[in-house]
């Protein structure tokens, strides 16, 4: 199967016969519109997912803190999915935007603007700018080069944050962030309920936006670039322009995720820019699967819960079990592993 046919398949469009050539017939255009509409329609499983998250706000008050962390991580992974899953741009330095967003929100708050939404906006704007500026460095070269250039940028920023102690607090972290209530109404509480509800709302809104964007002609052009940049260019997709746009968008998403972390924990340390953040978010996204927007969210839920559970049992050696899980996930195959669980559930359901 060729790459373009794959793209066509992913959007639920039968491949055009070769004779259609470069000029899509009006009928094709109509079919594309219909296909996009179909993709935009909400599936029951999606509704279940969001209903479950909403239920978690009400039913799991004791877990709000870790859920908040998961929501933020999920948004961060969603942002990576935008470039990796939809445009095929691999990055091992996504923490650059996460960290800059976190510092930006933190600094906005320490300089007197304690309204959280203003901090979010500032972080999004700054990281979008940074993403746009660095996109030109990143878009050159092969996967491996991209991997390393993104990583290099993140590491340099991390080192800068460490050195510019007068601004960032250096290795001690940025102290003294006091957030005001969200929208002038909801105070952050010790139980993390406001924090979780706030992060979740932001995640949901941005998720909707991402869903709309990826199911638009713009999103389709990204998919075609991911599957075969040469062919995409040949049919008239402005490859570089599109990549710059989506990279900028993803940067802003990551920045918002970082800002949420800074605001809900009211603390920023150099750690937000470190390599392990970039690596973790990549792991999470791959665990959940790329290219369907939910991968990052599901991965974040799985990874964090697993980590929390294992670290509870064995604070020293939980890495071992996570490692085994990852190896098994790859060797057995995500498909079969999940399929097995599903089959077991089905069998159980039948018995009762």
């Amino acid at each position: 199967m060729t790459a373009t046919e794959e793209t066509a398949m992913t959007i639920g469009l039968a491949a055009e016969p070769a004779s259609a050539g470069h000029h899509p017939a009006p009928a094709t255009a109509a079919r594309v519109v219909a296909a996009l509409k179909r993709r935009r329609r909400w599936r029951p499983l999606e509704a279940v997912f969001w209903a479950a998250t909403l239920a978690s706000v009400l039913l799991l008050p004791s877990k709000h803190l870790i859920l908040n962390e998961i929501a933020i991580l999920g948004l961060f992974a969603l942002s990576l999915d935008l470039i990796l899953g939809f445009a095929g741009v691999i990055s091992l330095g996504h923490a650059a935007f996460f960290g800059v967003g976190a510092y930006c929100a933190g600094l906005v708050a320490t300089h007197g603007i304690t309204e959280p939404l203003a901090g979010l906006a500032a972080a999004a704007a700054l990281t979008a700018l940074l993403g746009w500026a660095t996109s030109y460095l990143v878009l050159r070269g092969t996967d491996l080069t991209r991997l390393m250039v993104t990583m290099g940028i993140a590491l340099i920023l991390g080192e800068l944050a460490n050195q510019m102690a007068w601004l960032t607090g250096g290795a001690d972290g940025l102290q003294g962030i006091m957030m005001g209530p969200v929208a002038g109404w909801f105070e952050f509480d010790l139980f993390g309920t406001t924090a979780y509800a706030y992060s979740l709302s932001v995640l949901f809104v941005l998720f909707l936006a991402a869903r709309r964007i990826t199911n638009s002609p713009f999103g389709l052009s990204l998919l075609s670039i991911r599957d075969n940049p040469l062919r995409a260019a040949a049919v008239g997709v402005p490859v570089n322009g599109r990549l710059v746009q989506v990279y900028t968008l993803a940067a802003a998403y990551a920045g918002v995720a970082g800002a949420l972390l800074a605001q809900t924990t009211q603390f920023v340390s150099v750690d937000v820019l470190e390599f392990h953040r970039s690596a973790d978010v990549m792991l999470i996204l791959i665990i959940g699967g790329t290219g369907y927007l939910y991968g990052g969210l599901v991965g974040a839920v799985l990874f964090k819960l697993l980590q929390d559970m294992l670290a509870g049992f064995t604070p020293q050696y939980w890495h071992f079990w996570i490692g085994i899980f990852l190896i098994a996930l790859v060797l057995v195959g995500r498909e079969r592993m999940v399929g097995g669980v599903a089959a077991a559930v089905r069998r159980l359901a039948r018995r009762t």
Partner: protein
Amino acid sequence: MLTLLFDGIAYGMLLFILSCGLSVTLGLMNFVNLAHGAFAMAGGYATIVLMSRFDVPFVATLPLAFLFTAALGLVLERTLYRHLYGKSHLDQVLFSIGLVFVAVASVDYLMGSQQQIIKLPAALQGRVEILGVNIGLYRSFIIAICTVLVVVLQLILSKTRFGSRLRAAVDDRRVAQGLGINVNVIFAATFAVGSGLAGLGGALGAEILGLDPVFPLKFMIYFLIVVTVGGTTTLTGPFVASLVLGVADVAGKYYVPAAGAFVIYTLMIVFLLVRPQGLFARAR
């Protein structure tokens, strides 16, 4: 000044031994093996255990460390890695990170989390002054070993039948296979040797870089830098890249200590922007 150059070369040589195996793996099988550092760590710990529990002299542990990690590499290649050649890069990343986690936790469990310390024989300690240049004995030892290794590797690659098959396979795997070259066997052998070299590097480097359970995570970045800057099609590329990075890192930290940590990253980005395919890559 010359002392500085010397230190930089020694450091670069060490980086080269540690990462050349990875460059071959990437170039040959297009396999992203982030667990490469785990093999280096295995070599380091092999040396530690041999020295402290079995009283093997340091120099004698080096070939053993090589053999041990090579064997380990071979076993893992045959049992686990070979199932992954067909999978996507992302799956490979996931798998090899998993392997690193397991290695980190296992070493921690078996050996403890503290830094391991190697006791060098007296003959390798201290330094001598030659023509006004102050030279550390241990660093000269590293340079000597690495030079020999580079020459041997280069000879194997260019003069032996195995070498030409390997080069053919790196160049174009499919065609090589079509010509009746058993790429899988070549890869298993190369993987073992690459792992062994990493192990040797770990054993040699423990003195200078330190050795603790998080070694594979700490130095993953450095391996990747060498490999990407050097490119994956030749050995010369990573070799020159290691030397340049080693010298630049040392010199940068000497002359502008405040910017010390930036030098290597900035250098990498600049290199990659100028030569996205690596230093010595042919245009494809």
